[in-house]
């Protein structure tokens, strides 16, 4: 079948969106040039002196960099592992529930935190974890000393990972629930014929059927290795826990927008973007090769 050419209209439809993407994505990308400058906001990008790779060199000299890099990778790795296991276990358990109304109610409730902002949840969490908050009341009732959770470098990363998984596990389970719904019921019937009980069916039918989904999600999450969750940490951290909780994004914010070291902060951000980009490309290639996954 031959189409009349509507190209012109298609370009026209795409024009407004493309124009906005150029202004707010491509122009800032060119703006990373200031990573190579001693940028002064009064002089602008044309008037500021070029200093080559000095900002990058400085980054590798200061002690902070190693700590921040370690925090970022550590927190996001822990989150990644938690995100692979908790939603999977939850989905499998929920799938075993036979009462439809219970299933729907539980789903409705566990999805809710996903839709609340970190600003709101952080204020709720920091209230609950404060010295006279509800958690410390429980700690005291059990006979322990109260803990300043959000001021403790020992607790902070665990709280970040724990509250993140608390917020997202329900929503993340959706994809597993869909995969579970797609398992051929004949497999279960055959297993039952062969005398497999519920546990054996879980082990020999359910889990192997979910394996491809798990592998795919694990692969795709590699691309997020440098995203430890800005919104969450920004709203929960404080100077006392910088040594365990400061991540690249929060550091860039403080260096750039609070201390006005624009060039340096942009250099840090640029390096993060480049590494992140490489990781995403890598993870998509692996996903394409082994799971035949394509985004479009």
């Amino acid at each position: 079948m031959r189409y009349k050419s509507y190209d012109k209209h298609y370009h026209l439809m795409l024009l407004p969106g493309m124009a906005l993407l150029v202004v707010f994505h491509i122009v800032p990308m060119l703006g990373v040039a200031i990573a190579f400058q001693d940028f002064k906001i009064g002089r602008g990008i044309w008037g500021s002196p070029w200093i080559g790779f000095e900002n990058f060199a400085y980054m590798f000299q200061i002690h902070d960099s190693a700590v921040i890099f370690y925090n970022t990778v550590f927190i996001s790795l822990m989150k990644m592992i938690a995100h692979l296991i908790v939603p999977l276990v939850f989905a499998v358990l929920l799938n075993e529930v036979r009462i439809g109304s219970v299933k729907r109610w539980v789903q409705t409730i566990v999805y809710l935190p996903h839709f609340l902002s970190w600003v709101i949840l952080a204020s709720v969490i920091s209230d609950m974890l404060s010295l006279d908050g509800i958690v410390n009341r429980l700690v005291k009732a059990l006979g322990f000393e109260p803990v300043m959770f959000l001021a403790s470098n020992k607790w902070f990363p665990a709280i970040i990972v724990g509250t993140d998984i608390w917020k997202e596990f329900g929503f993340a389970a959706i994809i597993y629930l869909a995969a579970l719904a797609g398992i051929n019921p004949n497999l279960y019937e055959a297993a039952e014929m062969d005398g497999a009980g519920r546990l054996k069916q879980l082990y020999y039918v359910t889990l192997p059927s979910l394996l491809p989904t798990v592998v795919l999600l694990a692969t795709l999450s590699i691309g997020n290795i440098l995203n430890a969750g800005f919104d969450q940490i920004f709203n929960l951290y404080n100077p006392l826990v910088y040594s365990s909780g400061d991540i690249i994004d929060t550091y860039v914010y403080r260096a750039g927008l609070v201390q006005a070291q624009y060039g340096f902060a942009t250099a840090v951000g640029l390096l993060k973007s480049l590494v992140g980009f490489a990781m995403i490309v890598l993870s998509y290639r692996i996903a394409y090769k082994y799971a035949n996954y394509r985004i479009f």
Binding site: D7, V97, D127
Partner: protein, 294 residues
């Protein structure tokens, strides 16, 4: 499938339901605790006597909110950004998804556009260059700073595009046979057929606008222009963090109005809770859209 009901299986069924109940309670507890706080007597809240039911039930903190012009104004800023930003997101998503859903033969440059989109999705200049761009465009302190940088929700475009592509080819062919142009096809055929995914992406973008605080924090120069989440971030979160590390902790604790803060948080959650039933209905379907391709 018939499952035999032995004693063991009934026991495990019971245990399973108990686990589900605990999970549901844990998911809801923090929100529930905050709601209880907001309806409690201030001294009971400050003394740490409120758990999961209001102590000394009263509406005092909600009365105080109504008398706080800054809070109401921020609420209004957020409503404005949701309406304007949501409308812009919707229009651009539809306008971009349709041409990109056309095949390569019909629209040869499609692949080039797709690579461009993918690139913007994967790579960004970071927050500082965006900040400087918005500044140099003179958008600081205006509503435009909150809606234009995220005007194209690329992920939603891809989601809707995949849905369009899975609609039967015969639709377009029949339409074009009858002489319908692309605008007619989009507005009168594709959009009416795509209400569930459109509801999904719209609700995603509305929730995203309501929840975002960071753009308000860096692009707004005066407190009156803060959207609600930024306002709460500044007043509630910062205060909580401040009282952790200083000897003024107790003093601040006494001044800070726990029940009022809780009430502010509850009010800011209300719109999300109000659209939640609709979200619930569509988003599962919507999320799966992008993942199944023929």
């Amino acid at each position: 499938m018939v499952r035999n009901k032995t004693l063991g299986s009934r026991l495990s069924e019971g245990a399973l339901l108990a686990v589900m109940l605990i999970i549901a309670i844990v998911s809801l507890a923090p929100v529930w605790h905050t709601v209880s706080l907001s309806f409690s007597d201030n001294s009971a809240a400050a003394g740490g006597f409120v758990s999961f039911w209001p102590r000394g039930f009263n509406l005092e903190s909600y009365r105080k909110i109504v008398a706080e012009p800054h809070f109401l104004h921020s609420f209004f800023v957020s409503v404005q950004r949701v309406l304007l930003g949501g409308a812009i997101n919707f229009a651009l998503t539809v306008l971009m998804a349709y041409p990109l859903s056309r095949g390569g033969k019909e629209f040869p440059l499609r692949t080039a556009y797709m690579w461009f989109l993918l690139f913007t999705m994967l790579f960004s200049g970071g927050v500082i260059p965006l900040y400087l761009t918005v500044k140099s465009l003179g958008l600081f302190n205006t509503l435009w700073a909150l809606v234009l940088p995220g005007a194209v929700p690329v992920f939603n475009v891809v989601l809707l595009m995949n849905f369009f592509r899975n609609l039967p080819k015969e639709l377009s062919e029949a339409g074009y046979m009858d002489g319908a142009g692309p605008w007619f096809m989009l507005l009168k055929v594709f959009i009416p057929l795509s209400l569930p995914p459109l509801a999904t992406v719209t609700l995603f973008s509305v929730v995203g606008h309501w929840n975002s605080f960071f753009d308000g924090l860096i692009f707004m120069r005066s407190v009156e222009n803060y959207p609600l989440q930024t306002y709460i971030q500044q007043l509630v979160v910062q205060l909580n963090l401040a009282d952790l590390d200083s000897t003024q902790a107790e003093l601040l604790e006494k001044i800070s109005d726990k029940t009022l803060n809780a009430a502010k948080i509850v009010v800011s959650m209300v719109p999300i809770l109000a659209v939640y039933p609709f979200l619930q209905k569509y988003f599962i379907h919507g999320i799966m859209l992008g993942s199944v391709k023929e």
